[in-house]
Symmetry: C2
Subunit: 319 residues, 2 copies
């Protein structure tokens, strides 16, 4: 019988998991809360209780080649999650080992954006590409960099933190890291909200966003206002796209990818954000890189993508 892979994507709020075949079909999937488990041990128990029934539905543990895990601050080399600010478990968590012990299956773990990059390479927009960069634009900004057909993990397993590169020196404070002017402080859902609040405060421009109490404003509302034609909301996306475009230009001059694949909530704004992104990327590229690099939107189903990416780690396992 064809071997299957288990993919687990651990997010700050919830953890999605599913059984995936070689062709990238998610056969069964489910979800548990991450946030509810203050202790990682109870999380593992809950995962086991909810994952085992679907393993059995899919033909039993004997059909499973292994488990791939995508997690914030996940380290491929050590199988640990290290100092993840958005997870309830502090310090260094030997998650791969804990899952291996619980399920008696091989486990491969990496950070969520790296897992997404592997998913895109195997099933998505990056099929056949040897050099590309995956960028996830969600609550935060993650990235996975593929060069020479391999994911770049770096000497310590933490490469690909494009979200924390400094794009505007002395710029906006990132409360999670204490650094100023990082990409994530602007080109994330949180960043979009902060930019909207700043724009509302520093101008008198009319905007439907003024009717919303500051505490209720979020990137979804900015997005809705922008597609409804609100000029200030559109400027927020224009500004965000320009900063993203500058960051992409720097990334291109670093690793010269064939394409940059964007994934996540912010990409829903479509050309509102992509047009300024493209334009400012090209504007900042030296000639030899201009008009070469594709900016693509991931076409994987958002609900499946995280599971697919994590499961894709399994097919790379040596045994």
């Amino acid at each position: 019988m064809e071997a299957l892979a288990i993919g687990i994507d651990i997010g700050g709020t919830g953890t999605k998991f599913g059984i995936v075949d070689r062709n990238g079909n998610v056969l069964f999937s489910s979800e548990i809360s991450t946030r509810r488990h203050n202790e990682v041990e109870s999380f593992i128990d809950d995962l086991h209780d909810n994952l085992f029934p679907i393993i059995n539905k899919a033909g039993g543990i004997g059909r499973m080649k292994g488990i791939g895990v995508g997690a914030p601050n996940g380290n491929f080399y050590t199988g640990t999650i290290e100092y993840a600010p958005n997870l309830p478990w502090k310090g260094i968590i030997p998650l791969a080992k804990m899952i291996r012990d619980k399920f008696q299956l091989n486990v491969s773990l990496t950070n969520d954006a790296n897992a997404a990059a592997i998913g895109e390479m195997m099933y998505g927009a990056a099929q056949g590409m040897k050099d590309f960069i995956m960028i996830t634009l969600g609550t935060g900004v993650g990235s996975g960099i593929v060069a020479n057909g391999q994911l770049i993990y770096g000497h310590d397993g933490f490469a690909g933190e494009l979200g924390h590169t400094i794009i505007i020196p002395g710029g906006r404070l990132h409360k999670g890291t204490g650094k100023f002017g990082s990409l994530e402080s602007y080109a994330s859902a949180t960043g979009v909200t902060l930019t909207a609040l700043e724009f509302l405060e520093k101008t008198n421009q009319e905007s439907t966003l003024r009717a919303i109490p500051a505490d209720d404003l979020d990137s979804k509302k900015v997005y809705e206002a922008a597609i409804a034609g609100d000029a200030l909301a559109k400027e927020v996306y224009d500004f965000t796209g320009k900063i993203l475009g500058l960051a992409l230009a720097n990334a291109v001059m670093f690793s010269s990818p064939e394409a940059i694949i964007l994934f996540g909530g912010l990409t829903k704004a479509g050309d509102l954000i992509l047009k300024p992104t493209r334009e400012n990327m090209e504007e900042n590229l030296i000639q030899v890189f201009q008009n070469k690099v594709k900016i693509l939107i991931s076409h994987l189903k958002e609900s499946d993508a995280a599971i697919l990416g994590a499961s894709a780690l399994v097919w790379d396992m040596k045994n």
Copy 2:
């Protein structure tokens, strides 16, 4: 008899070449002018006339495994030099093919900073490293990025242009590229001179540099003033180091190298530039990368390093 490699390093002013053994000993070497040859054909003839005598001294063409060439804007995949602003030959030059035809030897070509990175990996400070970044700080800023033990060429062969990444958006104009605020516009010999001129103009601070006519000021004079204790000259290096440090932080968060190896004229300033570089790099790194990355100065002899790096390409040749 042991096979030997020929290394050729093409610079804007001169071209160095030499015969190198497997252990990195430069057995014979010489140099011709690059600048004097407006036509690449006459350059190749001159190269042949000056290289052949040392090939014969080293045991004849039969002992030569191949030729490695480092050149600005050199493309590893195509063997061409493309639109190199500092060379006399414009457009796309099929240099590897021309040298192959002239010498009847296999030729491998890449850009000068990539060649330097390979040289460091084989004979220098990066021996045994799988993840490092080589940065050459000379008239311009070049870089070679090694990840997973391989040089990153990118999809088109042009990866590693860290010198052109934008560090200060809207900052200093780079006259060669027309872009604003790139690393090279600050952290190069040209950049140091421009910073000194700016500092002299915008302050009334005493400085021995004021005695030098603006047209005669160069980075060597700024360096001499700084080591003699001139405060303004020291501030120039401090400023330069801070910008370099920020660029290094971004590079580290991208590919998470074990070390960054610096090479070239600017490194002679020692701690005058390295201290602010280190400090500002650490200042801008998120926690997971802090106090991990070594900044090393290349210990290869400057006169040999370029030839060594280029020759090292030969040992990677498949045939």
